[in-house]
Amino acid sequence: MIYFDNAATTINKPKEVIEAVSYAMMNFGNANRGLYEQSLKSSNVIYDTRIKLSKFFNSKDYRKVVFTSNSTEALNVAIKGILKKGDHVITTELEHNSVLRPLYEKETEGVEISYLKIDEYGNINYDDLKKLLKDNTKLVVTTHGSNVLGNLLNVKEIGNFCKNNNLIYIVDASQTAGEVEIDMIDMNIDILCFTGHKSLFGPQGTGGLILNREIDIKNMKSGGTGIKTFDKFQPKVFPTYLEAGTLNSHGICGINASIDYINKIGIKKIKEKNEMLTKYFYDKIREIEGIKIYGDFINLNRCPIVSINLLGYDSAKISDYLYEKYEIATRPQGHCAPLVHKSFKTEKQGMVRFSFSYNNNTYEIDTAVNALKNILN
């Protein structure tokens, strides 16, 4: 089987990650709930992983690394915990439903939303930020890389705009954590939301948000913390304030190993290979009559994602055919990003998304290209 659905999740995880999770499952107790060896082992790895993640994304304080079950949960914590009735928020048409749906919920509670529109290449116009700014604008939330088009946003430019206008900047790094270098301090990112199971090569059920400054944020969950047992309300001590319940120490141990794995290879090397694969595929299909490619390929500083359509075929039909006939796994339809599809008028047809990872190679891409040619013939 050829796996080109890495934007959904990466498979064939590194053996180091699998071994780490396995070790944790055999040896870890509940972190923060005792002082016997198994509990302390778990606490040690959680502590270690916070420090590693803080260094990996260059945040100011490892004590503001909050673990969640994925980036969707992280984005919900950030968006719902900060926005209040009467606030205005700026976002983009590139967003995934993990950003849009929390925003729509807040909209029903009196939060106002403005959108940075995308052009025919799926790019936003950064000058529009100024036009959308209002007196009550509280935050900007954007993806770092589109999960449909693969386009990267210039988060540093948006971060600088937010800093200059005293706005909170939340970045959805679901497609970029582990794929693209992220420097929270340099990019002026206030909250980074990430998932562990995509380009970080970690287990599903892991992720988090990293806060880079003091932000007034309300907890979404309350419960057991292992600290301040007799307080009626969730203790306002970070990261515990946003982390009620037993942490997924098994998964976090996997993330710990996955950061080591990426650092060992080097994120630049990973990105270079993925750029090569993306360009290789793009160059092979760009001249094929009947294939429409979406996104900006003038700029190759992007995520390894190529979304296409074949003539007027339903993307679901093409994706099913690719798997049934050629055992090539892709992702059709809407990719949980409704505004992108509205903008490209592909709500009905969808798109067939090919997303690559460090594990893929050009032979696999050749097979996919030949399959597409065969379908069109």
């Binding site: 005792g34 002082l35 302390l40 040690n44 502590y47 004590r63 292992g226 047992t229």
Partner: protein, 78 residues
Amino acid sequence: MIESKKVLVITFSMSDDVISMDRFYKSQNIDGKVIHIPSSLTAGCGRAYQVDIKYKDYMKKILKENGIFFEGIYEIKI
């Protein structure tokens, strides 16, 4: 019967800080250990750190110097 003795107990607001302390002390070869916080003390975290009373002055100095977050230092008999 369990013997009682006077010791130094450092309290914390969260578990990560206890781990940070434990690692630092081990790196300095100081004989200390993580304990459950004695019921006579109150602190955020249910874990605390116990060291020999002889480290009292040294303790205050190095906690600050090494940026280890703690809530309090107590001399108690446990």
